[in-house]
Amino acid sequence: MSAPTSHEPGHEPGHEPINATTDALLPDPGLPGHVWRPTDVDERAEKRAERQVATLFGLSAICTVLFVVSYITIKGGVDGHTFIGLGASNVALGVSLGLALLFIGIGVIQWARKLMGDHEISEERHPASSSEADRSQTLAALNAGLEESGIGRRPLVRNTLLGSVALLIAPAVVMLRDLGPLPHQVVGEYPGAGLEHTIWNKGMRVVRDVVGTPIKASDIQIGDLFNAEPEALFPTEENGYPELEGAHRQIAKSKAAIVMLRMDPADIVSDVTRNWSVNGIVAYSKICTHVGCPISLNERTTHHLLCPCHQSTFDLADSGKVVFGPAGRHLPQLPLGVDDEGYLIALSDFLEPVGPSYWERNTKSPEEVAKELKS
């Protein structure tokens, strides 16, 4: 540390002095004199302030009693009373508790402002750093300690210690391993498992969401847009799909949901979309390729589908290409067909992963995907 060039009075050497304010352009007039408040000099005002504060505390106590009373008497919940469109119990409890607290707060501050001493006092500041003596003593203690430990003289001990302690990060990391399986490990564990698969497979019927009824291609009008799901999500004895519960069901739903639209076949732009459609009925993954929100908003005249979360817009007439917004990839299309009874079925699982992109994902264009399907 370099020695300071000048010793200012009042500052110990080695300290950065507290910023001595500027050039004294004008003399400091000093603290203004104390002004007495009415409560300081008028006994009546003082008594009045005292009564005000006590009244506020009293009002608080009344509100607290009201809180307890309304807790006991007013029925809560949905079948309770309502007040200005809100639950009466909630309003009564909130207002009485709020006022009880506010009256105490206002009362205490009023007490402080009107009755407590209001002389401003001044306190010296000291530099944030310790004194030079403290510093050198600490440094000496530190050096003595280090010297006695021999940590500088025994590099072998020091380095093996550092190494072994650093290695202790390994258990901490390794033990987190069982937080979850690796992406490839889940494949085959449950129906539709893995990022590259969904529960759809060849010949699975397309059913309406919520009710689970199969859909006849002939029942759909041009312009109809609706949500659909694979039949496997609605297992019955008749269709023979295994029961899906809890997390597995949620996972299956989160990947298999589709949105369907029937458009005029003449409006379809890309060959792939045409090949995978039935009478102008197309099915696309409902899961946005951006960050995975379910897509829901349709522009009827343009066959554009908009994601409500971040407004990515996809063209359903043209392989689900992105026409606007932050999504980087087209919406995967589900190849559709019709079974013997005239119900819509999937010709296969999705031929590419649905939902948001991820590092290992091998993105192919819809044309490449179609080529693979043929082979």
Partner: protein, 584 residues
């Protein structure tokens, strides 16, 4: 006018006087014999805190955190952080018989079947919003007034970490009820994580315990929300307050208020009462909000279903800006050697917040490096007296505002009947252009205000009195500002002095060592202080006073004469004067 101070109330009579043994003294003695607190109490019980409304902003954050702790503990008594599927049998008709997670069912239970439960839920959520909003405004106050300068840089860092942790705490909190809206938020978060190159998919699988949504995320977020982050918040808040006490609070300059003292009211009783009373006020306001303002009505959204979404899905307001960045980012994705790089997600939601947060964290150090100022600062600066700093924060605020607006681009489009595409294109450009414009405009406004201060100092304030000279021309009379005000205006550094090289040669003529960047830094420093209007020099001030005396001398001729308005110049007693003397 004199005041009879002989009847001064008891409260103002005393300084610290040793009193006869009392109950308080006995209790304090008992404690001191075991804890040895007297040494600390002596210093701190009468510790001085300066008074200013803006010093209350951080206090709002502190007290809303206490409200969060209290209401949060209440909620944990009933909330079940479990994704096990149950069939709802509670009292809310519309959802009875529907399968949902236990977490959502218990959130409904708290809202409808626990008396005061809805109040506590809403208070908890409102207090969270208040907590983060207060931290942000407090941060702005600190930066605009230069309270982040030495020796308080580390407290700035702690405060920034508090803001970051508070935001994460908010996100993990509003994700817990497992309703449709919060589930959509988690769904998007999974997309964010998957966009991270190389490890994204693994992190997602580890976090969710497998594929999204799985059944692990709610219990894991719960532990983070009620244990991990609150613990860190508590520790950092304690450190923040300890440093505040150690450094002593900054104060505004004024007569008798210097860099070397702190003037204000003592902790006991005035500040203890004011701060304690303010806790009750924050608590009370939160209770009123919880009682009267409906917030996050989870029962209306329904349980989470990965196939459903509500239009206008929005995160809580403080998460709006990264969401907006995500919305206006063009959809760029690249593919190399079988790997996918989702720039469209990774850059706006992972890199950008990290980058902006790092900038925030480093602001005091960047400023210190540019100015080369190694002195301690305890007097606050008016924003105008650091034009570049003020303009920098306004530019950052503009960036924030653009992103935040982008986060509501669908709502703006609906409310203003505008095209969402055009709004998005506009914001893509605005987020780069508007900060530059607001930076330049703010800087100029600051400089103009500095000039205005100098005008007041040299020529007084505009009195509104119009003078007519014997020649018939008119001018407005300026009157001198008060001594205290003039002094306060002059307590500031001269930028010109800051520009002299900091690395001066020492007394022996040995050149000071120069870093490689010092040339670059000198240029930045010149720009930092460019066009600052310094306070007048002593010569200028004397010249101005001389001029004012001269003018006053001229006016003396009017003394005793009727001259409309002229005697309202602060130099003549006017209590008996009519504004308009009767005409003869």
């Amino acid at each position: 006018m004199s005041i009879d101070t002989s009847k001064v109330a008891a409260s103002n009579r005393t300084a610290a006087v040793a009193s006869k043994p009392s109950k308080v003294g006995a209790a304090a003695g008992w404690a001191d014999e075991r804890l040895g607190l007297a040494a600390m109490g002596k210093k701190n019980l009468r510790k001085v805190f300066p008074d200013h409304w803006s010093f209350m902003l951080g206090e709002i954050a502190l007290w809303s955190f206490v409200v969060l702790l209290l209401s949060g503990v209440f909620l944990t008594l009933w909330f079940r952080p479990s994704m096990a599927e149950v069939t709802y049998q509670g009292s809310y008709n519309q959802l009875r018989g529907i399968s949902m997670s236990e977490a959502y069912a218990s959130a409904l239970n708290i809202s409808f079947d626990v008396r005061g439960g809805l109040l506590m839920r809403q208070m908890h959520h409102w207090a969270a919003m208040l907590f983060i909003a207060a931290m942000m405004i407090h941060l702005l106050r600190v930066f605009f007034t230069g309270a982040h300068r030495k020796p308080r840089e580390l407290n700035w860092v702690i405060g920034s970490l508090l803001l970051l942790l508070g935001t994460l705490e908010g996100f993990t909190g509003y994700s817990l009820p497992d309703d449709l809206l919060s589930g959509t938020g988690i769904r998007a978060a999974d997309g964010f994580i998957k966009s991270i190159p190389i490890v994204g998919t693994y992190i997602s699988f580890f976090l969710f315990g497998g594929e999204f949504p799985g059944d692990a995320i709610i219990p894991r977020l719960y532990t983070i929300h009620v244990l991990l982050i609150p613990g860190l918040l508590l520790a950092l808040i304690a450190a923040h307050m300890l440093l505040l006490v150690y450094h002593k609070h900054t104060q505004w300059p004024g007569p008798g208020r210097t860099e070397n003292n702190v003037v204000g009211f003592p902790m006991l009783p005035v500040y203890a009462a004011k701060a304690g009373g303010f806790f009750f006020i924050v608590f009370g306001v939160t209770a009123l909000m919880g009682g009267l303002m409906s917030l996050n009505p989870v029962w209306k959204f329904g349980p989470y279903d990965p196939t459903k979404v509500t239009a206008g899905s929005q995160p809580d307001w403080y998460m709006g800006w990264p969401d907006g960045a995500l919305r206006i980012m063009p959809g760029i994705e690249s593919h190399f050697w079988g790997s996918t790089w989702s720039w469209n997600i990774f850059l706006p939601i992972i890199v950008l917040p990290g980058l902006l947060f790092t900038v925030l964290l480093l602001l005091p150090f960047i400023e210190g490096w540019i100015t080369g100022d190694k002195r301690e600062h305890h007097l606050l600066q008016r924003p105008r007296n650091a034009p570049t700093r003020t303009a920098t924060m306004v530019a950052l605020m503009t960036i924030y505002a653009c992103f935040w607006a982008a986060g509501g681009n669908d709502l703006i489009a609906i409310k203003l009947h505008a095209s969402i595409n055009q709004i998005t294109y506009f914001l893509r450009a605005a987020v780069f252009i508007l900060p530059i414009i607001t930076f330049l405009v703010t800087r100029r406004i600051c400089i103009s205000l500095q000039r205005h201060d100098n005008e007041m100092l040299l020529h007084g304030y505009e009195s509104g009195v119009i003078m007519r000279t014997p020649e018939g021309s008119y001018y407005e009379k300026h009157l001198p500002i008060s001594e205290a005000r003039a002094y306060t205006l002059t307590v500031r550094d001269r930028s010109a002095e800051q520009l002299t090289p900091a690395t001066q040669d020492d007394t022996n003529g040995v050149p000071a060592p120069k870093g490689r960047l010092s040339g670059f830094r000198d240029k930045i420093r010149t720009l930092y202080y460019a066009d600052d209007v310094d306070k007048p020099t002593t010569a200028e001030l004397e010249e101005a006073h001389h001029h004012a005396d001269h003018e006053a001398h001229e006016l003396e001729a009017l003394d005793g004469h009727s001259a409309e308005g002229h005697h309202f110049d602060g130099r003549h007693p006017v209590s008996e004067e009519p504004i308009r003397p009767e005409h003869h």
